[in-house]
Amino acid sequence: MTSYVLFLLLGLGAGSVYSLLGLGMVLKYRSTGVVDFAQGAIAMWGAYVFLRLRLTGKLELPWFALPHEISLGTGMAIVPALLITLVYGTVLGLVVFFLVYRPLLRAAPLTKVCASVGVTLFFEAVAVLNFGTTATSAPPVLPSKAFVISGVVIPGDRIWIAGIVVAIAVALTVTFRYTRFGLATRAGAENEMGAALIGLSATRIAARNWVLATLLATLSGVLITPISSLDPTSYTLFVVPALGAVLIGRFESFWITTAAGLGLGIVQSELVKLQTVFTWLPQQGLSDGVPFLIILVTMSLAAKRLGARGATGTLRNPSLGRPTRPGATALLAFAVGVVVLVALHGSLRAAFMASIVTVCLALGLVVLTGYVGQVSLAQMSFAGFGAFVLSHLGHSVGMPFFLALLISALSAVPLGILMGLPALRVRGVNLAVVTLAAAAAMDALVFSSVKFTGGLGGRKIGSPELFGLDLGIAKGNSYPRVVFGVMLLVVVIGAGYCVARLRTSATGRMLVAVRSNERAASAVGIRVAPVKLYVFALSAFLSGLGGGLLAYEQSSVSSSTFTAQASLSLLALVYVAGVGRIAGAVVAGIMFASDGLFVSFLDKTLHVGQYQTVVAGIALALTAIQNPDGVASNMAGERGPGPRVAALRDRIIPRRHRPVVLDVPGQDGAFVEDVAGPTPVSRA
């Protein structure tokens, strides 16, 4: 019994961090509508700053080039180090707010999410450059003298940390209820326009809240390091349970968020204990996975209405393309692809192949987020599932590769449908958080299984075969082989072609109708729920397909490829590239993917190698600010998939003259031009 109490108290440590991060996220969301996934990365950064001050007396700047540290003497005591860190946090909060989020105050929620992913990547990358990837442990901050109450030894620091969290929650509650600042923030969250009309400056309120939230993140970083060792990436994932707490608190209640955060920490800790008692329990991932399952189930069942924010611009959908002449485009893309494959060699050819695979993964988001306006932060989980299923398919029996791919892609479909269930109840940013929880649960519960994923080493994948022909990426000394690239092109362009044609089919119209207006969709007899499940299934299929291709491309699969973070990055780069059109998927794959053609090219010519992720983070945030609707839509200008590209295509593959058919749309889905004048290809 006493050990259960001990584990309960141990859980207060992690729980407090979830609460603190969660409280900061509530502040940010209420004041700016940003669900800031970077909160964990900021905590990590604050922790490093504090640690370096204490150990070396150097102040770390969030930069990697020379000089990134300012020496303030030798190691410091706790109090001055803490004070400096908090001042630092204030400045950091202001800088990040005015550089990144201020320009995005009116942007679509997902654009803000992308920017926050960019900020996360930036801080992670700078930390890796400056501090390396090995975990460091820190000297204690809080008195860790143990209490002994009726025979139970209670670690003192956990009591302290929980006490601080509760005190902060009380302070926030009181501030928000009784001060003018709190009232103004609440007014702004309730009705931004109204608040502006009575003379409240949204920017000033947001900036203050942002600083406050950054301070909370910094503080949580400082407090957790002595308990949990510090490294550049693992803190980032604390946002997932923290977001769980925030969801339970409905993005609104400080009290519930705090309690939920502490509760999640305790549940995790008790699960560790239970694992030692009941040996039949899965030994891996339980404590990480179960809280996410709890979030998932609660949200799917309970939340009909989650605290939405009354912003001036409600959830705007990204602009949507209209594919013209998909057949001709596909043929041309294939021809260009083959030329590029042959022209490139070595690492650049391999990078081009990686780009093609990313295009396939991106297509899953084009149908889901672009066509139907749903969000999923679990795309890489689907991909991973498909990849591992492929690795189990017994590659020696000479199964044609397309059959193996089909099976692995189909295996992800039930997962997709499962993920679609919460989408029937929650929307937008809430849905994003729920799917992120699902991805984290997959990480912890499914991908941790050594049997399924081969543990740390991963699993080998045999070469794709077609009737005895080896299509593998490597054979003997030749790598990467053109024939593999051609196989990739055929599969991915085929998928893209189908996705394009789907858009202008009866089903596509129905999907877009649901995206545009669910109320009106049901008024024309469309049943919304199955439509959503259908698109989640399709999206999972495309992701599973991409996962299978990725497995073939890397010749092995390991679970580290398919983390929740990878899903977050994928959504961010596809969204920024333009999630409403297939061109966006292509841009995402070729230009943005970190292992893709363009980035590898930069790496090779400019030798930006080690700074690549930093640059990617900045680029992501910048692009989000510059092109809230996606790069591809900007490229396309007012209409269509880039008028110049389309014109070039039409010159290379002339449009066959079709007989004029009144009332009937053309076979490509494009309406017959002779009747209606120029085909309207896209909305401004």
């Binding site: 009866a506 049901s522 469309i526 049943r527």
Partner: protein, 252 residues
Amino acid sequence: MGQLLEVTDLRVTYGGVVAVDDVSLHVAEGEVVGLIGPNGAGKSSFIDGLTGYLPRRGGHVEFEGRSLDGLATYAVARRGLVRTFQSVELFDDLTVEENLLVAAERPRLVTMLRDLVLPSRPEGVDDVAWARMLCELDDVAHRYPQELSHGQRKLVGVARALAQRPRLVLMDEPAAGLDTEESLAFGRRLRSLPGHGVSVLLVDHDMGLVLSVCDRIVVIDFGKVIASGTPEEIRADEAVIAAYLGGVDARH
């Protein structure tokens, strides 16, 4: 002529406020029935309650002799009882033509799967052409809703309802915001609908339109029916005059 729609004691409430207070109404096959009332009389709430967009707190709805109680909104539409919205609510990402097509075609799962590899040609093209012709939307078929005038958007809303080949259309203020000429033209189109097998329940407060096109009119105020009858009877009805003209007089 059998009753197409039979509404008995429909009741809709918002919290403690009764918006529709036991309203009964029927529409026969081939009829154009008007439902009018001053602002806030409960007209839109009546339609919402009837079609399942608001929960009914009482009453019973029968359509073609079958109960509609407990049916979801999409199922009501599939039965052939189709509505339009006061705020139009078009699909902004689809062209006018597609707005109509999506209403006319109801892809089944088989179609949805086939569309992944071998997209079907649009079904329901005839229904769309018919609805488009009826609302004279041929010129704007390939435009997006946001490029259209308010009046045209309203017409697209009506055409979208008609493209479903309904038995009965509930029109929620289709003429609001139209100018006199547009309104007259709209009235003529509406009058022709019964000839195509479509009955109409017209909700509007444009008295001119309602009196000129409807066979029968039901007047509600404060959620209750205060009069019903032919346009001539309604014109002469004292309760109606009090509700409308009385209100006007009081304001002057």
